[in-house]
Protein backbone atom coordinates (compact mmCIF):
# COMPACT_ATOMS: atom_id res chain seq x y z
CA UNK A 1 0.00 0.00 0.00
CA UNK A 2 1.51 3.35 -0.93
CA UNK A 3 1.26 6.53 1.12
CA UNK A 4 -1.81 7.84 -0.63
CA UNK A 5 -3.76 4.63 -0.25
CA UNK A 6 -2.84 4.48 3.40
CA UNK A 7 -3.93 8.09 3.74
CA UNK A 8 -7.38 7.27 2.43
CA UNK A 9 -7.63 4.51 4.98
CA UNK A 10 -7.05 6.95 7.84
CA UNK A 11 -10.27 8.24 9.32
CA UNK A 12 -9.40 11.90 10.01
CA UNK A 13 -7.72 12.27 6.62
CA UNK A 14 -10.70 10.82 4.82
CA UNK A 15 -13.13 13.08 6.64
CA UNK A 16 -10.91 16.14 6.22
CA UNK A 17 -10.53 15.48 2.53
CA UNK A 18 -14.27 15.08 2.11
CA UNK A 19 -14.99 18.34 3.94
CA UNK A 20 -12.35 20.20 1.96
CA UNK A 21 -13.69 18.82 -1.33
CA UNK A 22 -17.13 20.03 -0.30
CA UNK A 23 -15.85 23.57 0.23
CA UNK A 24 -13.87 23.50 -3.01
CA UNK A 25 -16.87 22.18 -4.91
CA UNK A 26 -19.03 24.97 -3.48
CA UNK A 27 -16.44 27.54 -4.50
CA UNK A 28 -16.17 26.17 -8.04
CA UNK A 29 -19.90 25.81 -8.49
CA UNK A 30 -20.69 29.20 -6.95
CA UNK A 31 -22.64 30.59 -9.92
CA UNK A 32 -24.73 27.40 -10.04
CA UNK A 33 -25.56 26.95 -6.40
CA UNK A 34 -25.73 30.45 -4.92
CA UNK A 35 -29.29 31.77 -4.73
CA UNK A 36 -28.42 35.15 -6.23
CA UNK A 37 -25.49 37.36 -7.20
CA UNK A 38 -23.29 38.21 -4.20
CA UNK A 39 -23.43 41.87 -5.23
CA UNK A 40 -27.16 42.15 -5.77
CA UNK A 41 -28.28 44.65 -3.17
CA UNK A 42 -31.68 45.79 -2.11
CA UNK A 43 -31.93 48.68 0.37
CA UNK A 44 -35.48 47.58 1.11
CA UNK A 45 -34.34 44.18 2.36
CA UNK A 46 -31.65 45.18 4.83
CA UNK A 47 -30.71 43.10 7.87
CA UNK A 48 -33.24 40.35 7.29
CA UNK A 49 -32.90 37.46 9.72
CA UNK A 50 -32.07 33.97 8.44
CA UNK A 51 -34.99 32.18 6.79
CA UNK A 52 -36.88 35.38 6.08
CA UNK A 53 -38.24 36.42 2.73
CA UNK A 54 -37.69 39.80 1.08
CA UNK A 55 -40.58 41.68 -0.45
CA UNK A 56 -41.05 41.64 -4.19
CA UNK A 57 -40.01 44.84 -5.96
CA UNK A 58 -42.63 45.72 -8.55
CA UNK A 59 -40.55 48.47 -10.18
CA UNK A 60 -37.54 46.27 -10.96
CA UNK A 61 -39.53 43.05 -11.46
CA UNK A 62 -37.39 41.46 -8.82
CA UNK A 63 -39.40 38.75 -7.13
CA UNK A 64 -39.14 38.41 -3.38
CA UNK A 65 -36.74 35.67 -2.37
CA UNK A 66 -35.95 33.46 0.57
CA UNK A 67 -32.75 34.43 2.41
CA UNK A 68 -31.59 31.21 4.02
CA UNK A 69 -28.87 32.92 6.05
CA UNK A 70 -30.38 36.40 6.10
CA UNK A 71 -29.12 39.60 4.51
CA UNK A 72 -26.44 42.15 5.38
CA UNK A 73 -26.55 45.88 6.00
CA UNK A 74 -27.21 46.77 2.36
CA UNK A 75 -29.60 43.91 1.74
CA UNK A 76 -27.31 41.39 0.05
CA UNK A 77 -27.89 37.67 0.49
CA UNK A 78 -25.51 36.31 3.14
CA UNK A 79 -25.49 32.77 1.73
CA UNK A 80 -24.55 33.98 -1.75
CA UNK A 81 -21.76 36.11 -0.36
CA UNK A 82 -20.57 33.21 1.77
CA UNK A 83 -20.38 30.92 -1.27
CA UNK A 84 -18.64 33.49 -3.46
CA UNK A 85 -16.47 34.54 -0.53
CA UNK A 86 -15.10 31.00 -0.34
CA UNK A 87 -13.52 31.51 -3.75
CA UNK A 88 -11.35 34.38 -2.62
CA UNK A 89 -10.53 32.89 0.78
CA UNK A 90 -9.56 29.53 -0.70
CA UNK A 91 -7.70 31.03 -3.65
CA UNK A 92 -5.66 33.27 -1.42
CA UNK A 93 -4.93 30.37 0.93
CA UNK A 94 -3.86 28.01 -1.87
CA UNK A 95 -1.79 30.63 -3.65
CA UNK A 96 -0.04 31.60 -0.44
CA UNK A 97 0.75 27.99 0.40
CA UNK A 98 2.01 27.31 -3.10
CA UNK A 99 4.23 30.36 -3.16
CA UNK A 100 5.49 29.74 0.36
CA UNK A 101 6.24 26.11 -0.43
CA UNK A 102 8.07 27.10 -3.59
CA UNK A 103 10.30 29.63 -1.86
CA UNK A 104 10.83 27.43 1.19
CA UNK A 105 11.63 24.28 -0.78
CA UNK A 106 13.98 26.07 -3.08
CA UNK A 107 15.93 27.64 -0.24
CA UNK A 108 15.82 24.41 1.75
CA UNK A 109 17.16 22.29 -1.09
CA UNK A 110 19.83 24.78 -2.01
CA UNK A 111 21.06 25.22 1.52
CA UNK A 112 20.93 21.50 2.33
CA UNK A 113 22.50 20.34 -0.89
CA UNK A 114 25.23 22.84 -1.46
CA UNK A 115 26.21 23.66 2.11
CA UNK A 116 28.98 26.15 2.75
CA UNK A 117 28.29 29.82 2.40
CA UNK A 118 24.84 29.28 0.86
CA UNK A 119 23.84 27.20 3.84
CA UNK A 120 25.09 29.87 6.21
CA UNK A 121 23.12 32.58 4.42
CA UNK A 122 19.86 30.63 4.29
CA UNK A 123 20.40 29.58 7.88
CA UNK A 124 20.70 33.22 8.81
CA UNK A 125 17.54 34.05 6.88
CA UNK A 126 15.63 31.36 8.73
CA UNK A 127 17.02 32.69 11.97
CA UNK A 128 15.93 36.23 11.17
CA UNK A 129 12.49 35.03 10.26
CA UNK A 130 12.09 33.11 13.51
CA UNK A 131 13.47 35.84 15.72
CA UNK A 132 10.98 38.52 14.70
CA UNK A 133 7.19 38.64 15.00
CA UNK A 134 6.60 38.53 11.29
CA UNK A 135 2.88 39.21 11.41
CA UNK A 136 3.61 42.58 12.94
CA UNK A 137 5.97 43.51 10.14
CA UNK A 138 3.39 42.19 7.68
CA UNK A 139 0.76 44.52 9.09
CA UNK A 140 3.15 47.40 8.80
CA UNK A 141 3.96 46.58 5.18
CA UNK A 142 0.32 46.00 4.21
CA UNK A 143 -0.73 49.21 5.91
CA UNK A 144 2.01 51.25 4.32
CA UNK A 145 1.96 49.78 0.84
CA UNK A 146 -1.74 49.00 0.64
CA UNK A 147 -3.48 45.62 0.86
CA UNK A 148 -5.13 43.65 -1.90
CA UNK A 149 -5.02 40.09 -3.10
CA UNK A 150 -1.44 39.93 -4.34
CA UNK A 151 -0.03 41.72 -1.33
CA UNK A 152 -1.81 39.40 1.08
CA UNK A 153 -0.63 36.29 -0.80
CA UNK A 154 2.98 37.52 -0.73
CA UNK A 155 2.81 38.38 2.95
CA UNK A 156 1.34 35.00 3.85
CA UNK A 157 3.93 33.21 1.72
CA UNK A 158 6.73 35.16 3.35
CA UNK A 159 5.33 34.25 6.73
CA UNK A 160 5.31 30.49 6.06
CA UNK A 161 8.26 29.69 3.78
CA UNK A 162 10.48 29.07 6.74
CA UNK A 163 8.47 26.00 7.80
CA UNK A 164 9.16 24.31 4.46
CA UNK A 165 12.76 25.41 4.34
CA UNK A 166 13.56 23.81 7.67
CA UNK A 167 11.88 20.50 6.84
CA UNK A 168 13.37 20.26 3.37
CA UNK A 169 16.84 21.17 4.56
CA UNK A 170 16.89 18.48 7.21
CA UNK A 171 15.50 15.95 4.74
CA UNK A 172 18.12 16.85 2.16
CA UNK A 173 20.88 16.62 4.74
CA UNK A 174 19.81 13.13 5.73
CA UNK A 175 19.40 11.95 2.15
CA UNK A 176 22.46 13.62 0.70
CA UNK A 177 24.92 11.07 1.90
CA UNK A 178 22.82 7.99 1.43
CA UNK A 179 24.04 5.25 -0.82
CA UNK A 180 21.81 5.81 -3.80
CA UNK A 181 22.62 9.52 -4.01
CA UNK A 182 26.33 8.75 -3.73
CA UNK A 183 25.87 6.17 -6.42
CA UNK A 184 24.06 8.61 -8.68
CA UNK A 185 26.78 11.14 -8.17
CA UNK A 186 29.45 8.55 -8.90
CA UNK A 187 27.56 7.69 -12.09
CA UNK A 188 28.09 11.30 -13.15
CA UNK A 189 24.63 12.76 -12.51
CA UNK A 190 24.54 16.55 -12.26
CA UNK A 191 23.38 18.44 -9.22
CA UNK A 192 20.05 19.35 -10.81
CA UNK A 193 19.38 15.79 -11.76
CA UNK A 194 20.19 14.55 -8.31
CA UNK A 195 17.98 17.16 -6.72
CA UNK A 196 14.99 16.55 -8.94
CA UNK A 197 15.19 12.79 -9.38
CA UNK A 198 16.59 11.63 -6.09
CA UNK A 199 16.04 14.23 -3.44
CA UNK A 200 12.84 16.19 -4.04
CA UNK A 201 10.49 13.21 -4.39
CA UNK A 202 11.64 12.02 -0.99
CA UNK A 203 10.81 15.32 0.67
CA UNK A 204 7.37 15.52 -0.87
CA UNK A 205 5.33 13.75 1.76
CA UNK A 206 6.50 15.71 4.82
CA UNK A 207 6.00 18.83 2.72
CA UNK A 208 2.33 18.02 2.32
CA UNK A 209 1.93 17.85 6.07
CA UNK A 210 3.51 21.28 6.49
CA UNK A 211 1.45 22.60 3.60
CA UNK A 212 -1.84 21.56 5.14
CA UNK A 213 -0.97 23.20 8.44
CA UNK A 214 0.22 26.32 6.60
CA UNK A 215 -3.02 26.40 4.67
CA UNK A 216 -4.94 26.51 7.94
CA UNK A 217 -2.66 29.26 9.20
CA UNK A 218 -3.01 31.19 5.93
CA UNK A 219 -6.82 31.14 5.96
CA UNK A 220 -6.92 32.28 9.58
CA UNK A 221 -4.34 35.02 9.04
CA UNK A 222 -6.03 36.30 5.90
CA UNK A 223 -9.28 36.56 7.85
CA UNK A 224 -7.51 38.48 10.63
CA UNK A 225 -5.89 40.89 8.21
CA UNK A 226 -9.07 41.50 6.25
CA UNK A 227 -10.94 41.95 9.50
CA UNK A 228 -8.65 44.82 10.50
CA UNK A 229 -9.08 46.33 7.05
CA UNK A 230 -5.43 45.79 6.16
CA UNK A 231 -5.93 42.71 4.02
CA UNK A 232 -8.20 42.14 1.07
CA UNK A 233 -10.15 45.02 -0.42
CA UNK A 234 -13.14 45.53 1.92
CA UNK A 235 -15.42 45.89 -1.08
CA UNK A 236 -14.81 42.31 -2.31
CA UNK A 237 -16.65 39.43 -0.68
CA UNK A 238 -14.31 37.29 1.38
CA UNK A 239 -14.92 35.63 4.71
CA UNK A 240 -12.62 38.04 6.50
CA UNK A 241 -14.24 41.16 5.05
CA UNK A 242 -17.69 39.76 5.82
CA UNK A 243 -16.70 39.33 9.45
CA UNK A 244 -15.70 42.97 9.50
CA UNK A 245 -19.00 44.01 7.90
CA UNK A 246 -20.92 42.42 10.73
CA UNK A 247 -18.99 43.94 13.58
CA UNK A 248 -21.33 46.82 14.27
CA UNK A 249 -24.32 44.52 13.99
CA UNK A 250 -23.47 42.04 16.73
CA UNK A 251 -26.60 42.85 18.66
CA UNK A 252 -29.05 43.53 15.86
CA UNK A 253 -27.90 41.12 13.14
CA UNK A 254 -25.61 38.45 14.60
CA UNK A 255 -25.76 36.29 11.47
CA UNK A 256 -23.64 38.66 9.36
CA UNK A 257 -20.43 37.88 11.23
CA UNK A 258 -21.37 34.49 12.66
CA UNK A 259 -21.82 32.72 9.33
CA UNK A 260 -18.40 33.50 7.83
CA UNK A 261 -16.80 32.56 11.16
CA UNK A 262 -18.42 29.12 10.97
CA UNK A 263 -17.33 28.76 7.36
CA UNK A 264 -13.73 29.53 8.31
CA UNK A 265 -13.92 27.07 11.21
CA UNK A 266 -15.25 24.32 8.94
CA UNK A 267 -12.57 24.81 6.31
CA UNK A 268 -9.69 25.09 8.75
CA UNK A 269 -10.92 21.99 10.56
CA UNK A 270 -10.97 20.11 7.25
CA UNK A 271 -7.42 21.13 6.43
CA UNK A 272 -6.16 20.35 9.92
CA UNK A 273 -7.75 16.89 9.89
CA UNK A 274 -6.17 16.17 6.56
CA UNK A 275 -2.80 17.26 7.93
CA UNK A 276 -3.26 15.18 11.06
CA UNK A 277 -4.08 12.14 8.93
CA UNK A 278 -0.99 12.65 6.80
CA UNK A 279 1.16 12.91 9.87
CA UNK A 280 -0.30 9.68 11.21
CA UNK A 281 0.50 7.88 7.99
CA UNK A 282 4.02 9.23 7.75
CA UNK A 283 4.98 8.88 11.35
CA UNK A 284 2.60 6.59 13.23
CA UNK A 285 4.57 7.14 16.44
CA UNK A 286 3.82 10.88 16.50
CA UNK A 287 0.09 10.40 16.35
CA UNK A 288 -1.62 11.14 19.61
Amino acid sequence: MNTWERLLHTKPARRGLLMLLLVIAAALAAPLISPTSPDHLDPGARLLAPLSRSAAQPDTHHPGMLHLLGTDSVGRDTLSRLIYGSRLSLAVGFAAVLLGALIGTLLGVISGFFGGIIEAVTGWLIDVQLSFPFLLLAIFLLGALGGGKTAVICVLALATWVNYARIVRSQVLSIRNQGYVEAARAAGAGSMRIIFIHILPNTLTPLFVVASFSMAQAILTEASLSFTGLGLDPATPSWGTMLNDGRDYLLSAWWISTMPGLAIGFTVLAVLMLGEGMREVLDPKAAP
Binding site: W124, D127, V128, L130, S131, F132, P133, F134, L135, L136, L137, I139, F140, L141, G143, A144, L145, A216, L220, A223, S224, F227, T228, G229, L230, L243, R247, L250, L251, W254, S257, T258, G261, I264, G265, V268, L269, L272, P288
Partner: protein
Protein backbone atom coordinates in the same frame (compact mmCIF):
# COMPACT_ATOMS: atom_id res chain seq x y z
CA UNK B 1 27.43 29.79 27.26
CA UNK B 2 28.22 33.48 27.64
CA UNK B 3 29.57 33.78 24.14
CA UNK B 4 26.46 32.06 22.82
CA UNK B 5 24.33 34.67 24.52
CA UNK B 6 26.35 37.62 23.21
CA UNK B 7 26.28 36.05 19.78
CA UNK B 8 22.50 35.80 19.92
CA UNK B 9 22.21 39.35 21.19
CA UNK B 10 24.43 40.69 18.43
CA UNK B 11 22.36 38.91 15.80
CA UNK B 12 19.14 40.15 17.38
CA UNK B 13 20.50 43.68 17.29
CA UNK B 14 21.27 43.32 13.59
CA UNK B 15 17.76 42.08 12.93
CA UNK B 16 16.26 45.02 14.79
CA UNK B 17 18.52 47.40 12.90
CA UNK B 18 17.36 45.93 9.60
CA UNK B 19 13.73 46.18 10.70
CA UNK B 20 14.14 49.78 11.78
CA UNK B 21 15.64 50.64 8.40
CA UNK B 22 12.92 48.82 6.46
CA UNK B 23 10.07 50.37 8.43
CA UNK B 24 11.61 53.82 8.25
CA UNK B 25 12.12 53.75 4.49
CA UNK B 26 8.70 52.28 3.76
CA UNK B 27 6.98 54.57 6.24
CA UNK B 28 8.76 57.54 4.71
CA UNK B 29 7.75 56.58 1.20
CA UNK B 30 4.12 55.83 1.81
CA UNK B 31 2.60 59.05 2.97
CA UNK B 32 3.26 62.69 3.67
CA UNK B 33 2.68 63.40 7.38
CA UNK B 34 2.21 67.08 6.56
CA UNK B 35 -0.96 66.35 4.60
CA UNK B 36 -2.25 64.61 7.68
CA UNK B 37 -1.31 67.42 10.01
CA UNK B 38 -2.44 70.38 7.99
CA UNK B 39 -6.03 71.37 7.33
CA UNK B 40 -7.36 70.72 3.85
CA UNK B 41 -7.39 74.44 3.11
CA UNK B 42 -3.83 75.22 4.24
CA UNK B 43 -1.75 76.72 1.43
CA UNK B 44 1.18 74.98 -0.20
CA UNK B 45 3.55 77.49 1.39
CA UNK B 46 2.20 76.78 4.86
CA UNK B 47 2.55 73.06 4.27
CA UNK B 48 6.12 73.52 3.07
CA UNK B 49 6.94 75.57 6.15
CA UNK B 50 5.56 72.82 8.37
CA UNK B 51 7.52 70.20 6.44
CA UNK B 52 10.67 72.20 7.02
CA UNK B 53 10.06 72.71 10.72
CA UNK B 54 9.56 68.94 11.15
CA UNK B 55 12.79 68.26 9.29
CA UNK B 56 10.90 66.29 6.66
CA UNK B 57 12.49 68.14 3.76
CA UNK B 58 15.92 66.65 4.45
CA UNK B 59 17.31 63.67 2.49
CA UNK B 60 15.81 60.43 3.73
CA UNK B 61 19.15 58.95 4.85
CA UNK B 62 19.87 62.01 6.95
CA UNK B 63 16.45 61.62 8.53
CA UNK B 64 17.10 57.95 9.21
CA UNK B 65 20.46 58.74 10.77
CA UNK B 66 19.00 61.19 13.22
CA UNK B 67 16.11 58.81 13.93
CA UNK B 68 18.60 56.07 14.74
CA UNK B 69 20.80 58.33 16.86
CA UNK B 70 17.79 59.45 18.86
CA UNK B 71 16.43 55.91 19.13
CA UNK B 72 19.67 54.67 20.64
CA UNK B 73 19.26 57.35 23.30
CA UNK B 74 15.72 56.20 23.97
CA UNK B 75 13.97 58.89 21.94
CA UNK B 76 11.68 57.49 19.26
CA UNK B 77 10.48 60.86 18.03
CA UNK B 78 7.11 62.54 18.32
CA UNK B 79 3.70 61.42 17.08
CA UNK B 80 2.60 63.46 14.09
CA UNK B 81 -1.03 63.21 15.05
CA UNK B 82 -0.87 63.77 18.78
CA UNK B 83 2.33 65.79 19.13
CA UNK B 84 3.38 63.53 22.01
CA UNK B 85 6.66 61.63 22.48
CA UNK B 86 6.35 58.11 21.03
CA UNK B 87 8.06 56.64 24.09
CA UNK B 88 5.40 58.18 26.33
CA UNK B 89 2.59 56.78 24.19
CA UNK B 90 4.21 53.35 24.26
CA UNK B 91 4.81 53.55 28.00
CA UNK B 92 1.11 54.29 28.47
CA UNK B 93 0.05 51.25 26.45
CA UNK B 94 2.71 48.68 27.23
CA UNK B 95 1.50 47.70 30.73
CA UNK B 96 -1.96 46.79 29.41
CA UNK B 97 -0.42 44.63 26.69
CA UNK B 98 1.92 42.89 29.11
CA UNK B 99 -0.93 42.25 31.52
CA UNK B 100 -3.08 40.76 28.79
CA UNK B 101 -0.31 38.60 27.31
CA UNK B 102 0.89 37.41 30.72
CA UNK B 103 -2.61 36.56 31.91
CA UNK B 104 -3.47 34.76 28.71
CA UNK B 105 -0.18 32.85 28.76
CA UNK B 106 -0.51 31.72 32.37
CA UNK B 107 -4.15 30.84 31.76
CA UNK B 108 -3.34 28.83 28.64
CA UNK B 109 -0.49 26.94 30.31
CA UNK B 110 -2.39 26.18 33.51
CA UNK B 111 -5.47 25.02 31.63
CA UNK B 112 -3.37 23.01 29.18
CA UNK B 113 -1.57 21.18 32.00
CA UNK B 114 -4.80 20.48 33.80
CA UNK B 115 -6.60 19.37 30.69
CA UNK B 116 -3.63 17.28 29.52
CA UNK B 117 -3.53 15.41 32.80
CA UNK B 118 -7.27 14.93 32.96
CA UNK B 119 -7.17 13.52 29.45
CA UNK B 120 -4.52 11.01 30.48
CA UNK B 121 -6.35 10.00 33.63
CA UNK B 122 -9.66 9.60 31.83
CA UNK B 123 -8.05 8.38 28.62
CA UNK B 124 -10.54 7.75 25.80
CA UNK B 125 -13.41 8.67 28.10
CA UNK B 126 -16.03 11.34 27.53
CA UNK B 127 -13.95 14.05 29.21
CA UNK B 128 -10.94 13.23 27.05
CA UNK B 129 -13.05 13.58 23.93
CA UNK B 130 -14.73 16.78 25.12
CA UNK B 131 -11.40 18.43 25.95
CA UNK B 132 -10.02 17.29 22.62
CA UNK B 133 -12.98 18.98 20.97
CA UNK B 134 -12.30 22.19 22.85
CA UNK B 135 -8.66 22.03 21.86
CA UNK B 136 -9.64 21.66 18.20
CA UNK B 137 -12.11 24.53 18.46
CA UNK B 138 -9.33 26.77 19.72
CA UNK B 139 -7.29 26.01 16.65
CA UNK B 140 -9.85 26.15 13.86
CA UNK B 141 -11.81 29.36 14.43
CA UNK B 142 -10.18 32.77 14.21
CA UNK B 143 -9.46 34.07 17.70
CA UNK B 144 -11.11 37.40 17.03
CA UNK B 145 -14.28 35.75 15.79
CA UNK B 146 -14.48 33.71 18.95
CA UNK B 147 -13.91 36.95 20.84
CA UNK B 148 -16.85 38.53 19.05
CA UNK B 149 -19.07 35.57 19.83
CA UNK B 150 -18.05 35.67 23.50
CA UNK B 151 -18.77 39.41 23.57
CA UNK B 152 -22.14 38.76 22.02
CA UNK B 153 -23.04 36.15 24.62
CA UNK B 154 -21.47 37.41 27.84
CA UNK B 155 -21.36 41.15 27.35
CA UNK B 156 -24.15 42.12 24.99
CA UNK B 157 -26.86 39.60 25.88
CA UNK B 158 -26.10 38.54 29.44
CA UNK B 159 -24.39 41.83 30.40
CA UNK B 160 -22.15 39.85 32.77
CA UNK B 161 -18.89 41.29 31.48
CA UNK B 162 -17.87 44.54 29.84
CA UNK B 163 -17.89 44.72 26.04
CA UNK B 164 -14.46 46.25 25.81
CA UNK B 165 -11.83 48.51 27.27
CA UNK B 166 -9.59 48.06 30.27
CA UNK B 167 -10.44 48.50 33.91
CA UNK B 168 -11.00 45.89 36.57
CA UNK B 169 -10.41 42.16 36.40
CA UNK B 170 -13.77 41.70 34.69
CA UNK B 171 -12.43 43.57 31.69
CA UNK B 172 -9.56 41.11 31.43
CA UNK B 173 -11.57 37.89 31.37
CA UNK B 174 -12.87 37.81 27.79
CA UNK B 175 -9.76 39.08 25.98
CA UNK B 176 -7.46 36.84 28.04
CA UNK B 177 -9.61 33.76 27.38
CA UNK B 178 -9.84 34.54 23.69
CA UNK B 179 -6.11 35.05 23.37
CA UNK B 180 -5.38 31.92 25.43
CA UNK B 181 -7.60 29.50 23.54
CA UNK B 182 -5.48 28.67 20.45
CA UNK B 183 -2.41 28.20 22.63
CA UNK B 184 -4.43 26.09 25.05
CA UNK B 185 -5.59 23.97 22.12
CA UNK B 186 -2.08 23.19 20.92
CA UNK B 187 -0.48 22.84 24.34
CA UNK B 188 -3.09 20.58 25.92
CA UNK B 189 -2.64 18.08 23.08
CA UNK B 190 1.11 18.21 23.51
CA UNK B 191 0.89 17.75 27.27
CA UNK B 192 -1.36 14.74 26.81
CA UNK B 193 0.91 13.18 24.21
CA UNK B 194 4.00 14.00 26.27
CA UNK B 195 2.70 12.33 29.42
CA UNK B 196 1.52 9.27 27.52
CA UNK B 197 4.94 9.02 25.92
CA UNK B 198 6.73 9.21 29.24
CA UNK B 199 4.35 6.77 30.91
CA UNK B 200 5.74 4.06 28.70
CA UNK B 201 9.32 4.66 29.84
CA UNK B 202 11.35 2.31 32.02
CA UNK B 203 11.61 4.51 35.09
CA UNK B 204 7.85 4.84 35.28
CA UNK B 205 7.53 1.11 35.21
CA UNK B 206 10.12 1.00 37.98
CA UNK B 207 8.20 3.58 40.00
CA UNK B 208 5.02 1.61 39.59
CA UNK B 209 6.80 -1.61 40.47
CA UNK B 210 8.02 0.07 43.67
CA UNK B 211 4.34 0.40 44.54
CA UNK B 212 4.04 4.21 44.29
CA UNK B 213 0.42 5.37 44.06
CA UNK B 214 -0.67 6.24 40.49
CA UNK B 215 -1.12 9.90 41.49
CA UNK B 216 2.49 10.18 42.62
CA UNK B 217 3.68 8.45 39.48
CA UNK B 218 1.74 10.90 37.35
CA UNK B 219 2.56 14.10 39.18
CA UNK B 220 5.99 13.23 40.50
CA UNK B 221 7.61 11.45 37.64
CA UNK B 222 5.64 11.56 34.43
CA UNK B 223 4.62 15.20 34.44
CA UNK B 224 8.07 16.51 35.30
CA UNK B 225 9.74 14.61 32.53
CA UNK B 226 7.01 15.29 30.03
CA UNK B 227 7.23 19.03 30.62
CA UNK B 228 10.83 19.42 29.55
CA UNK B 229 10.30 19.23 25.80
CA UNK B 230 7.29 21.51 26.13
CA UNK B 231 9.36 24.49 27.25
CA UNK B 232 10.49 25.26 23.70
CA UNK B 233 6.94 25.06 22.41
CA UNK B 234 5.77 27.28 25.28
CA UNK B 235 8.35 29.87 24.27
CA UNK B 236 7.15 29.77 20.67
CA UNK B 237 3.59 30.13 21.90
CA UNK B 238 4.47 33.18 23.98
CA UNK B 239 6.04 34.79 20.95
CA UNK B 240 3.01 33.87 18.90
CA UNK B 241 0.76 35.53 21.47
CA UNK B 242 2.76 38.75 21.39
CA UNK B 243 2.45 38.76 17.61
CA UNK B 244 -1.27 37.93 17.55
CA UNK B 245 -2.41 40.01 20.49
CA UNK B 246 -3.02 43.03 18.26
CA UNK B 247 -6.18 41.62 16.79
CA UNK B 248 -7.59 40.68 20.19
CA UNK B 249 -6.73 44.18 21.40
CA UNK B 250 -8.68 45.63 18.49
CA UNK B 251 -11.72 43.42 19.03
CA UNK B 252 -11.88 44.28 22.73
CA UNK B 253 -10.69 47.89 22.33
CA UNK B 254 -7.95 46.92 24.77
CA UNK B 255 -5.62 49.91 25.24
CA UNK B 256 -2.52 47.94 24.32
CA UNK B 257 0.44 48.54 22.09
CA UNK B 258 -0.82 46.20 19.38
CA UNK B 259 -3.96 48.22 18.82
CA UNK B 260 -1.92 51.39 18.90
CA UNK B 261 0.33 49.97 16.17
CA UNK B 262 -2.56 49.22 13.83
CA UNK B 263 -4.24 52.55 14.52
CA UNK B 264 -1.00 54.39 13.91
CA UNK B 265 -0.51 52.56 10.61
CA UNK B 266 -4.04 53.36 9.54
CA UNK B 267 -3.53 57.01 10.42
CA UNK B 268 -0.11 57.04 8.74
CA UNK B 269 1.41 58.16 12.03
CA UNK B 270 4.56 56.33 11.11
CA UNK B 271 6.90 57.35 13.91
CA UNK B 272 4.45 55.78 16.35
CA UNK B 273 4.02 52.68 14.18
CA UNK B 274 7.78 52.24 13.78
CA UNK B 275 8.36 52.71 17.48
CA UNK B 276 5.75 50.08 18.31
CA UNK B 277 7.21 47.57 15.84
CA UNK B 278 10.66 48.09 17.29
CA UNK B 279 9.53 47.78 20.90
CA UNK B 280 7.41 44.67 20.27
CA UNK B 281 10.23 43.20 18.17
CA UNK B 282 12.72 43.79 20.95
CA UNK B 283 10.39 42.16 23.44
CA UNK B 284 9.97 39.18 21.14
CA UNK B 285 13.73 38.78 20.75
CA UNK B 286 14.23 38.94 24.50
CA UNK B 287 11.51 36.34 25.09
CA UNK B 288 13.16 33.97 22.63
CA UNK B 289 16.48 34.46 24.33
CA UNK B 290 14.91 33.92 27.74
CA UNK B 291 13.29 30.70 26.60
CA UNK B 292 16.61 29.35 25.37
CA UNK B 293 18.27 30.22 28.65
CA UNK B 294 15.51 28.56 30.67
CA UNK B 295 15.75 25.52 28.48
CA UNK B 296 19.51 25.37 28.92
CA UNK B 297 19.13 25.75 32.67
CA UNK B 298 16.68 22.90 33.15
CA UNK B 299 17.95 20.44 30.58
CA UNK B 300 21.28 18.95 31.64
CA UNK B 301 21.97 17.77 28.10
CA UNK B 302 21.80 21.26 26.65
CA UNK B 303 23.79 22.58 29.58
CA UNK B 304 26.51 20.04 28.98
CA UNK B 305 26.66 20.88 25.30
CA UNK B 306 26.91 24.60 25.93
Amino acid sequence: MLSAVTNRLARAFLVLLAVSFLTFIIGHDSGDPVLLLARGDATAAQKQELRHSLGLDRPVMAQYRSYLENALQGNLGESYRQHLPVTRLIALRLPASLLLAATAFVLAMALALLSGMLCVVYRDGVLDKALAGLAVLGQVVPGFWLGLVLVLIFAVHLRLLPVSGAGGIQHLILPALTLALPTFGRMSRLVRAGILDVLGADYIRTARAKGLPERDVLLGHALKNALLPLVTQAGLELGDMVGNAFIIEIVFAWPGIGRMTVEAIQQRDFLVAQGCVLVIGTGFVLINLGVDLVYAAIDPRVRARA
